[in-house]
Amino acid sequence: MSAPKWLALGRNALWILNPFLGIIAYYHQEINFGIYFQWLGKMHPMLLHFPIVLGLGIAGYYVYTRDNNKISPFLSPLLTIHSLMATIVAIFGIFLSKQGIYNHDLIFWHQWGGISIAWMSWGLMTLHEYNNSFNTNFLLRALVGFVFAGMLIFFTHKGAQLTHGSQVLSWPEEEIAKKITVNMDSTATLYERAIGPLLQQKCLSCHGPEKEKGNLLLNSPDHIQKGGKHGSILIGNNNKKAPLLERLFLPLSEEKHMPPEGKLQLTKEELSLLSYWVRSGSHLEVKMNELNQSDSLFLLAQHWMPSVPYSNRQKNIFPDLKAYNSNYCTVSYIFTGSSDIEVSFYQRNFYAHENLKRLSPIQSQIVNLNMQNMPLQEEDIAFIARCSQLQKLNLNFTQLSADQLVPLKKLTKLKSISICGLAYDEKNWPAFFENAPFDEVHLWASSLNPPQIDKIRSAYPRINFTVGDNLKNDLIKITSPIIDQDSSIIASHLDINIKHFLDGTDIRYTTDGTDPDSLSSPEFKQTLRITDHTTLKTKAFKSGWISSDVAQKTFYRSEIHPDTIYFITQPDKQYPGRGTQTLIDYQLGDQNFSNGKWLGYLDENMILVIGFHQSKKLKEARFNTLIDNASYIFPLTAIKVGGSLDGTQFKTLNEIKFPPLQKDDKNIENKSFNCPIPGEDSYKFYRFTLSNLKKLPDWHPGKNTPAWMFIDELFLN
């Protein structure tokens, strides 16, 4: 009988797939699979159930069917299908194995076990087809059936352990762990806080309501008092150890050891806790707050928590932190592979206690917490005090007081705490620093004075206090105020504000050219309105500071705009500015002569004519200039002004001479020169001649060489 076409196709496929499986299984460490293969890998846990069920069915058939003649002709096709599925599932499994870090032993057994199942199934199919003795020997078939079923169960169980944890089939202890209630109140009894829940978790599966082994019940104080079939478990006969402790402390291998081997064992701390408890008289009614707070019994009970079964812990140790992150709270692992978590909160306006409370599921993994500047309350501190693994805590500027921090002393692992800017009261320190777990405190805060600091330092020598060295009150010069008005030119009026970046600064000003002082000069309170040419000088004063340098700014009035301007003498080619526009563009050229806003003249006077369509009476003309003697730029020496009605014949109206620059004068400044124009006559044209210094003075390094003259603006009134 020739096989149907699909069967032959399947069998041929096996010849391709199985070598492929062998190769990728052997070399899987060297191969990187693409994303499509990773996706196929995810099909493995879903598909694998089909070959398991089919395989177990085939194994059962082998064991069940004694009659050699009744072997179904479908067995061979079924084995082909099984082998195909097992091979594909194994291939997918190898894809999957590349995506995670799995236990090496488990994966080794699961991988090669799975492959051996696929190949065994292939082999059986071949046996059916070509080997008659297999078809006629029931015992052989039954043996093969058992082995096949055993392999299926054993090797796939290894896989189940990979995905569901090694205790996949063990007793559901975590269910018990969940039900345990621990009373954390300070008014709770020792029994409610620790002894009861501890017995409940570790003993009640045998000594609880469901079972009552040795007639011993441990689910209530009365039952514990009463003991079991050998009498009290808390008081030993004839000065012997209490039976409870005796049983607990026996080596694990002893038959009488409790809890029996295979059950969840007590930790070292739990053993100490119970033995301290029994030795102190095994009181069942004593309250936690009645115990001596430095006793081992209290401390052990205080820190006891139900232990979480291993498999469960494994799952919870790396929770996905995405859900805990928000725009105002960053939660991350310290580094990849660590279960330690750090948390930072930002922007106090968005803080509420709920934001912190959301973190309770990962509370015990937080080692680094930054809450600086958050508006914290007692409930927040209570929450933080339960972050048992906390090592570093930043509470800078949280507006708490020292007595509110006392609960944090419970954090035994806390190494470093930052409490800068918090309110301190000498009375409250001892409660917080006495016997504190941390050895580094950042205590910088302006409210502490040096004697207080010394006092704390000597009282708690174990703790390293960082206080900053800015406690000494150095006298430093304050910065000048800022005149907040960009424009320098007054058309009708200008409103001027003066400000200072440091709050509470006393700003004084003058407009008469004298330097302001803190007594007689007016204080700047509200916007200043000026209408005329003004040199504003201002100075900042503040107690604890040296008064500032004078800041000054000159404001020029410019009422009249000429209709035309032309130069009789042209400015130097290097500094042409923007031609005649430079003089009336309302842009002052500051102290940088090469910024293109200046007209420069070397060894030459500036002569210019301004014109109006209608005759105009001018009262004054003011030229703004630059003096920079290091750059050979000197002030003008004289201004001559002439008026004309026709533009050719000028009548001299005024001539003013200015004093020469002295060596001790400011060597760089902007200075304006005013030329009043007397008389009542109006003219259509005015001609100005600005005289340049011909020879630099003897004190200047460039003596006897000609000077530069820089002009940038003309104001007419």
Binding site: T330, S338, T466
Partner: protein, 481 residues
């Protein structure tokens, strides 16, 4: 690039499959069972999951870049030999034919110039500091001084680019961008990478935005430059009469439109745009709170010096850097210009130090007193050093120094570095005697301090994987505490 071509490149295989999945029954079923099956993580997400790779010593960096190259011989690297041989020619055996810049290669002599300044020892390690930097000398015990840095470039721009991006040519991501890409922002209301500029009175060299460029990384990793005015981030505040709720509504609508065009075109820059709008919306609330000096006690203002109240000064930038870093900004990059002392070096240096000395030291002290120094790495240094011989005329009190990439000094503090003086130069201050630290080594060490393995932290671009340290760089364990 041709937009059509770019569109084609954006439609990569993963996107194709994820878009087709709804149409294909089997895949659709698969995606129902494993909801994030097709949301294959992009490279950034992969790194955000695996970084830091090991316990970081520094969570944040503040890089005080002294642009123009300060003279190590007048600040840290005390060479009495130069003072003794002042004016004598640099021995040829020391120079050994090493290359010069175009500015001094025409000089016929190379007269040694001893520092004009007095030096004294400070701190338990007895490191030397010149009299121009008394405040920095005052924090000597916190400083990890590396006297044996060296670089490959001899001119400012390539040297600066090399320090900032790990390559002398441009277009590579800046150090801060790499950190932003690897570790992301700790405070989601501020950019992960901020840039602050200031200028001293000394001879300056330009800084360009290519230095804080994201290179081939997503543009969200680009450094955000704060302007030096009173409003540090321009156009951040809303125009008057726009309510915050209106703004929210507007952004939502724009985001919806952007999302539509992303679905159509698939350009990842559109997603970056949406994220940037959202970030700036949150920054509107966060930035004024942080840049305000209102909550700074006067003692802090005095510590940084009153200049810190004037926006745009180095002191103000140091104070702002502390505030940004304290608020979770991963990487704050400062540049202070004006150190390029080719001539008149001593006088310019005094001015530069006056700007820089007190605020730099104050920053360290301020971080320390707040308990932040141990998790913040502060770096201070230029792009190369300056020569031991004089450029231009040499007098007793005045000299200039040319560029010198063979050795120079930088210092670091906080963030897991080991305080002390590391490395040594020869008695002429020309060559390195011990512990040479190349720029790549420096980068590798910084990455290591941040919990990143510089060799596996890569980005695939143009068909190959790029690293900050390219194919070199060794972690210098001597510098790590």
């Amino acid at each position: 690039m041709n937009e059509l071509l770019e569109h084609g490149l954006n439609q990569n295989r993963r996107k194709f499959l994820s878009k087709m999945s709804l149409g294909l029954g089997g895949l659709g079923l698969g995606s129902l069972m494993v909801p994030d099956m097709f949301d294959g993580p992009n490279e950034a997400e992969i790194f955000s999951k695996i970084l830091p790779q090991f316990s970081p010593r520094a969570k944040r960096v503040i890089y005080l870049f002294q642009n123009g190259a300060p003279s190590q011989l007048d600040l840290f690297d005390y060479k009495p030999m130069l003072q003794k041989m002042h004016g004598e020619d640099l021995p040829a055996s020391i120079r050994n034919g090493q290359r010069l810049t175009g500015m001094t290669s025409n000089q016929t002599t190379f007269p040694l110039a001893g520092s004009r300044f007095n030096f004294s020892q400070h701190g338990s390690h007895g490191g030397w500091f010149s009299e121009t930097i008394p405040h920095i000398a005052g924090i000597a015990d916190d400083l990890c001084i590396v006297k044996s840095m060296y670089t490959e470039a001899i001119n400012h721009d390539p040297a600066l680019t090399f320090f900032q991006t790990g390559a002398q040519v441009g277009n590579r991501p800046s150090l801060g961008s790499w950190v932003s890409y690897g570790l992301g922002s700790d405070n989601k209301n501020l950019p992960a990478f901020c840039v602050l500029l200031s200028k001293g009175k000394g001879n300056g060299q330009g800084v360009y935005s290519k230095l804080w460029n994201n290179g081939f990384l997503d543009s969200i990793h680009q450094g955000v430059q704060f302007s030096s005015g009173e409003e540090p981030i321009k156009y951040l505040s809303d125009p008057p009469f726009i309510a915050r709720s209106d703004k929210r509504a507007m952004l939502d609508e724009i985001a919806a439109l952007n999302q539509q065009s992303y679905e159509k075109i698939g350009d990842p820059e559109i997603v970056a745009k949406i994220q940037q709008y959202e970030l700036s919306y949150r920054m509107q609330m966060a930035v004024p709170e942080i840049t305000s000096l209102k909550n700074e006690p006067e003692s802090v203002v005095k510590m940084y010096g009153p200049e810190c109240l004037v926006p745009g000064t180095y002191a103000a930038n140091c104070l702002l850097a502390r505030k940004l870093s304290e608020n979770g900004v991963r990487f704050v990059q400062l540049y202070h210009q004006g150190w390029d002392g080719h001539g008149n070096l001593p006088n310019e240096l005094i001015g530069q130090c006056k700007d820089v000395d007190q605020p730099s030291a104050a920053l360290i002290k301020d971080l320390k007193q707040r308990g932040l120094l141990d998790e913040t790495l502060v770096i201070w240094g230029g792009e190369f050093g300056r020569t031991n011989y004089c450029q231009g005329p040499l007098t007793k009190d005045n000299y200039g120094r040319d560029h010198h990439p063979r050795c120079f000094t930088i210092w670091m503090a906080g963030g897991g570095v080991k305080p002390g003086v590391h490395g040594e130069t020869d008695e002429f201050g020309y060559n390195i005697n011990s512990l040479p630290v190349h720029v790549h080594d420096f980068h590798a060490t910084i990455m290591h301090l941040m919990g990143i393995d510089h060799e596996t932290f890569t980005y695939k671009h143009l068909g190959r994987r790029y690293r900050l340290t390219d194919v070199s760089g060794n972690i210098i364990n001597n510098l790590i505490a």
